[in-house]
Amino acid sequence: MTAAFDPADRADLDVSGLPTTVFGPRDIMWWGVLGFMTIEGMTLVVAVASYFYLWRQPGTWPPEHTLLPSLGWPTVHVVFLVASNLVMMRVSRVAHRLDLAALRRWMLVATACSIVMVPLRWLDFLALNVRWDTNAYGSIAWLTVGLHGTLLVTNTAEMLVFTTILHLRPTERHFTDAADSAFYWYYMTLVWVPLYVMVYWGPRFL
């Protein structure tokens, strides 16, 4: 279709044969997802910049009488998050194949993974071993984990609604949306790994 288009031939351009289900950058919604990833990414950049700015202030990091963060549950969480990408890769693959039955199954698994991570995030907070109102170190650590936590929670809510609609009123559009939600998941993993290193390992080395 597109190869045949040449405005110079001055004929009207019939677009009725164009596809209505496309994936990735060809799809308009993908750009919206990318836009919001960028915005959320910027808020995380602000958190990281503030983290290092506050660390540069006089005094030790973490401040005296403040325990180092624990590594146990946060490490379990980050490993689980990375591993769950295998599920999302399946989601993306069956979505591209337009296989509704398989997509429904894998979306259920993915939603379950997402739900499991909400209590895990709570354990991440406890593992900081400092309260948000103890000192600026505690404030920025809570904020960083919390910002990413809002992504986790809203994503879980979204997946719940999406999976329900997928079972009750599915359209082809949902294949594209499912692929986008896998894309978003990769992003959530990609940003959390460095944040995890910064928040839980950083105070040990800084």
């Binding site: 279709m1 597109t2 288009f5 405005p7 110079a8 001055r10 004929a11 009207d12 351009l13 019939d14 677009v15 009725s16 044969g17 164009l18 596809p19 209505t20 289900t21 496309v22 950058p25 060809r26 799809d27 308009i28 750009w31 919206g32 836009g35 919001f36 960028t38 915005i39 910027m42 808020t43 950049v45 602000v46 958190a47 503030s50 700015y53 506050l54 202030q57 005094g59 401040p63 948000w132 109102d133 103890t134 000192n135 600026a136 170190y137 505690g138 404030s139 920025i140 809570w142 904020l143 929670v153 809510a157 979204e158 609604v161 999406f162 609609i165 009123r169 359209t171 082809e172 559009r173």
Partner: protein, 641 residues
């Protein structure tokens, strides 16, 4: 020949098409249609009207300040009132007028200029407006109940922090910022996606109108800058609400962190206003000289260069703090360098005017006024990039003079755009004679008001003072500045008269009253709900000036549902079709839920779980397809609709 505008219909099938498209793209009548609309033109017009109302209110605040300062030791306003007035003036002009007005012009005209029937995400667009409106109402509810923010639009800590601003005034600042930034970010995403994926076939990137380029650069800057202030206001709100210590030096926090975060946003913010203004100037210059703007590629590059440089000079707002001297030299150099792209733009416009045939319309006079006022502001801007000079004039009235020259410099093209686009928005022509009066009063008023302020600043008058003692000798120049403000008020009054006169008995506007080059003029004034009867195929940079025998158009889009054309990013080749959802009240519900969340958060941290739950319900309502739209979409995907 196939019609693009309903006013060109000659064929029976086009007439039928017009009626079908009106049914599909039109809104339901009355209040329901008003609430549920997702038409970018209606929403952007709403933004424009709302921001203009707040421009008038912000101007009223300025008038109160000029009245108070007109003589020494005046007791018209005390510090408590004055501090709220100047803070709300700054917030109004920045957050409720200048930035959203520029984005609103983008939301109205970018889709029309690229030949799209709507923005990329119509419901999100409606949501953005409602969120914006809630933010505006929050600020003015606070202000009118004596709870207006009073620590400056920059809200420096610790003054705005928990220790020195008890009460809710600073919290209103923080949440107003949150609301307006959310809506600004949404508008930016809309503009980027619309420009990237909804351009008419053939409008490759190097054929986009300069205004569209300017809005694209602006939208990117918005996305990279606004999260900084949104995060900073989150830090501030949590310091105040739950006792975090981001800005408390006693617990490892730092007051200067706030200034870095705020100005990393705050400086690009100025360019978020200025860059669209340059886009407006380009459209006005080409429209009223009947010439394409000279040096298209360098004009685009100048905007991009400004976009990058704007992020590299925030520290020049902090030269009087303890930032290291060596770093300051870097920021002096970048601040001065931004004069280069601005110079390139000025010279290219001058070259265009030189070779063109100027039409002395009111809109064009504003272009001339812009060049004089903006260059003046730019020159004082270069001066204050110098650290030693800035340490003298920083936070003095010299700065007030400088940034009003720059920002009102951007208001000139805006007023020019008002005369240029009013016919498109309303279908009526504004009076040119009143336009001359508007321009004359405004140009003289701006200079009489703000030029003396340079000397007030040099004579030692600090900013944000509610009064001054007579012995300082600042009285005369302040009186002169206040007299100038009267002229500005008069000029805006003339504009309002012009509006009402035009709406009641102005001449009917044709499709293209100025014989301009871009696609918004290819359709009726005001445009129908579907914007273009047939989406035009673009063959050059000035689609309406190309002399073509036969203008090709797009055919084959569905006429039963809101079917939109998606094109490729660089070359705008037709690539796929996209189903746009029906109008819906869900964006309003979701915005109300968000409003409840943030406003409850002013009072208690429980706002987060409560608001989160309400917002979740709003999102479910939004995402859930009605049976009707579900069936419609299935038919669309099967190719039957």
């Amino acid at each position: 020949m196939r019609a693009v505008s309903p006013s060109e219909i000659t064929r029976a099938d086009d007439r039928e098409l017009h009626e079908t498209l009106e049914r599909v793209w039109g809104d339901r009548p009355g209040l329901v249609g008003w609430i549920t609309t997702t038409d970018h033109k209606r929403i952007a017009l709403r933004y424009i009207v709302t921001t203009f109302v707040f421009f008038l209110l912000g101007g009223l605040n300025a008038g109160l300040m000029r009245l108070q300062l007109s003589r020494p030791e005046n007791d018209f306003l005390g510090p408590d009132a004055y501090n709220q007035v100047f803070t709300v003036h700054g917030m109004t002009m920045m957050f409720l007028f200048a930035v959203p007005m520029m984005l609103a012009l983008g939301l109205y005209f970018v889709p029309l200029m690229v030949g799209a029937r709507n923005v990329a995400y119509p419901r999100l667009n409606a949501f953005g407006y409602w969120v914006f409106l809630i933010g505006c109402l929050l600020l003015y509810t606070g202000f009118l109940t004596n709870t207006g923010p009073d620590a400056g639009w920059f809200s420096y800590v610790p003054l705005a922090g928990p220790g020195f601003s008890p009460g809710k005034r600073s919290d209103i600042w923080a949440q107003t910022v949150t609301f307006t930034e959310v809506s600004g970010l949404i508008a930016a995403v809309e503009i980027i996606a619309t420009v990237f994926k909804h351009r008419a076939p053939g409008m490759s990137l190097n054929r986009m109108p300069l205004f569209v380029w300017a809005m694209l650069v602006t939208a990117f800057m918005t996305i990279y800058s606004m999260p900084w202030v949104a995060s900073a206001s989150l830090f501030l709100a949590s310091d105040r609400l739950v006792g975090t210590h981001f800005f408390n030096p006693a617990e490892g926090g730092d007051a200067l962190l706030w200034q870095h975060l705020f100005w990393f946003f705050g400086h690009p913010e100025v360019y978020i206003i200025f860059i669209p203004a340059t886009g407006l100037v380009s459209q006005l210059v080409s429209g009223f000289t009947r010439r394409p703007v000279y040096g298209y590629p360098v004009m685009v590059l100048a905007n991009i260069m400004q976009g990058f440089l704007a992020f590299g000079l925030w520290v020049h707002h902090m030269f009087a703090t303890t930032v290291p001297q060596l770093g300051s030299s870097f920021f002096t150099a970048t601040s001065a360098m931004i004069a280069i792209p601005a110079g390139i733009q000025i010279f290219c416009w001058l070259a265009t005017i030189w070779h063109g045939k100027p039409q002395f319309r009111a809109a064009f006079l504003f272009v001339l006024g812009f060049i004089v006022v903006f260059v003046t502001g730019g020159l004082s801007g270069v001066m204050i990039s110098s650290v030693p000079f800035d340490t003298q004039v920083h936070d003095s009235y010299f700065i007030v003079a400088h940034f009003h020259y720059v920002l009102l410099g951007a208001l000139f093209p805006f007023f020019g755009a008002v005369y240029y686009w009013f016919p498109k928005l309303t279908g009526r022509m504004l009076s040119e004679r009143l336009g001359y009066w508007h321009f004359g009063l405004f140009f003289v008023g701006v200079n009489v008001t703000f030029f003396p302020m340079h000397f007030l600043g040099l004579a030692g008058m600090p900013r944000r003072v509610y009064t001054y003692i007579a012995e300082t000798g600042w009285g005369n120049l302040n009186l002169l500045a206040s007299a100038g403000a009267v002229l500005i008020v008069g000029s805006v009054a003339v504009l309002l008269v012009n509006f009402f006169r035009a709406l009641r008995r102005g001449d009917r506007a044709p499709d293209n009253p100025w014989r301009a080059e871009t696609l918004e003029w290819a359709t009726a004034s005001p445009p129908p709900s579907y914007s273009f009867l047939h989406i035009p195929v673009v063959e050059g940079r000035s689609p309406l000036w190309e002399r073509s025998e036969r203008r090709p158009v797009v055919t084959g889009l569905s006429t039963e549902v809101r079917d939109t054309l998606v094109t490729t990013l660089v070359d705008a080749l037709p690539d796929s079709r996209h189903y746009d959802p029906r109008p819906s009240a869900a964006p309003l519900y979701a915005a109300l839920a968000l409003g409840i969340t943030f406003i409850t958060l002013i009072f208690t941290p429980w706002g987060l779980p409560i608001g989160g739950a309400v917002f979740f319900l709003g999102m479910v309502r939004w995402a859930w397809p009605t049976l009707r739209s579900y069936r419609e979409q299935l038919r669309y995907e099967e190719g039957k609709a």
